[in-house]
Symmetry: C2
Subunit: 410 residues, 2 copies
């Protein structure tokens, strides 16, 4: 029996689900060492100016700029040394008219001074006096208070995915306990009478569970916490019970459906009964991945992914990653790299479906080439051998050899 | 006093260090759940065929292909049903001449059969007999034994960075304890009399340690384990002692040098004395980051990075990330994404130096634009506000507004 469902585009499917998703409200406070690749749970304001004192950006002498106006090699300005500002200390000298204080890069400039002359533009006459041979403007070689960030400035909006430099920025203003959104807990249910755990020796007719492992890793990459539930047999009641238990605890559920139409139908029926409003999307105009299910059970997203490993990964990236980022409220999720390459051979496609073809890349004398890997979609090593995915748009019946194409790398 | 050093290009600097680096030999065995973003420590061979049995890729009937030759709607082939192969079990039927066995997608096809007819191309006459209305070729709709991977095949070379699909592939063949290269241990020493820990309230003239946090995160991204040592004062002997202690334990040492020329000179001198052969590179034709130091102390790489936060990150990515990947022996390190954008304003550059300018990206009606952020290089929020880096090549004196440029995203 062919499945009966109404096919919509991937974009429509994403939009339909997105309307129903709400931000996760659970917040954790983590240290800077744990904050990489987490998402801010609140707008973060700077508790301080950075820098908190006016800093020299050069080794040299803090002066009053006006004292150096017109100075040149031929007609230097003569200034009296009034002291030195040691690194890491408050300046305990005052620079008066006609005076200069020795300063180091990063050190405080003393009260009274308003610029720094680079040491290269000075000459020591004796221990008391220097010659300045080039003028400086007011503020030259000085980092004023708050030049980097001012107290009260918004450092990050809510929903910011924290990168290495962001942790540096937080450290700089002394924010060392960071409110982040809890990682969404994503339950994964593999199904199928033929599926056994990867650490077991399969008997004849059995295969090892692949999807739990690839999907767990994808969830980690997208900022979630995978909760593998194990493997359910092709039995609606057992599946339903495991799914219900999981949803009590998790924020999202992914079901890797069976491969045959009858078990897929059973999965769809079971998902429909998990909670309101039930199935939002059943059938998407993509290849592979057409029989995908997007559902909502009492506010929690539920995905029915096709059982085979390649479809599972492609459908995951199309629908689950965006949903996870939406739960996190993330405004700047990390992008997967894109590369331009020349297509090595024709790729046929059914018009009316977006096709995704794994490719590997080869650097040749005349540039980068993308070589499609035409495998049956149930071969996981098709994905292992690939560097990325080629997408054939909905309205194209195929792509031609030598076409310039965009490849999304893994 | 200006520093005295011989400047070479970034490429030359990388090559000079690379000659001296050797693979880390420490191996750990990790579970699949821990193997994401780790690097294989050995060539991995498949212990099994995948699949281990011939699988149907369709719901339908396993047949002898020859029995269907010439079959059509008008002249169907009539086959006797000899049984059904349940999912997850060995086929206990034998398909003989003129016979067919019901099979499900992913199930085993029985001995005697050599193809599968899709259910859509059949009609049940009664409980004993089906009509086949289209012929199948030998092997059609069947995944033969070892079609994905054969026993003994190389699954991954040594040095493979493990991605989500790779974990799926390992699960599929039952490899659940994976030999990976130990994470290189990278000690980080911040220095400077003015620097205090990020969780302390700085006194006048003091600043919080930024680099330990941004560099730790970068090390994690590149597959290493950061070992923050804390902050050394500008005192050669204390620094030397902390560096020596660290090198006894770590595989690599990063010193965030002081900002003033005198403390930088002291750092360079201290690094030179840490072990043979000592300093390999002192001075690179890049901006920011010119006074960078690349050294080797008794086989372990030591980096002296300029103290200011922006230079530190740029120099890190240029030199430390490749060195880490080389220690790991990694052949496919994750790439940072590149995007093409139009430059929003002129960028001047000193010819003879490779310049790196933080930019942010703006999607406008006519495409993507890159807006340079011209900040003093010691402002960490310059990097926080940026989406990526623009590189002005060595031989160019600058780039012009509206030029198409490549931006490396963070």
């Amino acid at each position: 029996m062919p499945e009966l469902f109404q096919v919509i585009t991937a974009t429509q499917a994403n939009e339909r689900l997105a309307q129903h998703l709400t931000l996760l409200q659970r917040v954790e406070h983590v240290s800077l060492a744990e904050a990489l690749d987490r998402v801010t749970a609140a707008e973060l304001l700077s508790p301080t100016n950075l820098p908190t004192f006016p800093r020299s950006t050069m080794d040299g002498f803090a002066v009053r700029a006006a004292d150096t106006y017109g100075a040149s090699e031929g007609l230097p300005a003569y200034l009296n040394l009034c002291g030195e500002v040691p690194m890491g200390r408050a300046a305990d000298v005052q620079v008066r008219l006609g005076e200069a204080a020795r300063v180091h890069t990063g050190g405080m400039i003393p009260p009274g001074s308003d610029a720094v002359v680079m040491i290269e533009n000075t000459q020591a006459l004796d221990e008391q006096m220097i010659e300045v041979v080039r003028p400086v403007a007011m503020g030259e070689n000085v980092l004023p208070v708050g030049d980097d960030v001012r107290q009260g400035d918004v450092l990050f909006p809510r929903g910011h995915w924290l990168r290495p430099q962001d942790l540096g920025g937080l450290a700089g203003v002394g924010l060392t306990s960071i409110p982040v959104v809890a990682r969404p807990r994503v339950a994964i249910l593999a199904t199928g009478d033929e599926v056994v755990s990867a650490d077991r020796e399969p008997a004849a007719g059995q295969i090892r569970d692949i999807n739990t492992h690839s999907v767990s890793a994808l969830i980690r990459r997208a900022g979630g916490e995978p909760l593998p539930l194990g493997i359910a047999p092709d039995d609606a009641e057992t599946m339903r019970q495991m799914a219900c238990d999981a949803l009590a605890d998790a924020d999202m559920l992914i079901i890797s459906a069976g491969s045959s139409v009858s078990t897929r139908d059973m999965t769809a029926q079971m998902i429909a009964e998990l909670g309101a409003p039930g199935v939002l999307v059943h059938g998407v105009s993509i290849r592979p991945g057409k029989p995908s299910i997007l559902a909502l059970a009492d506010g929690k997203p539920v995905f029915g992914l096709p059982g085979n490993p390649v479809s599972t990964m492609i459908v995951y990236q199309l629908f689950v990653t965006p949903a996870l980022h939406q739960l996190l409220g993330c405004t700047n999720p990390p992008a997967r790299p894109l590369v331009q390459a020349r297509l090595a051979q024709n790729v046929a496609s059914r018009s009316g479906s977006e096709d995704f073809v794994p490719v590997y890349l080869e650097q040749r004398d005349d540039g980068l080439w993308a070589i499609p890997i035409f495998g049956k979609s149930n071969l996981i090593y098709t994905m292992v051998r690939a560097d990325g995915l080629l997408q054939v748009p909905l309205d194209q019946a195929g792509l031609y050899a030598e076409d310039m194409v965009t490849i999304r790398l893994f």
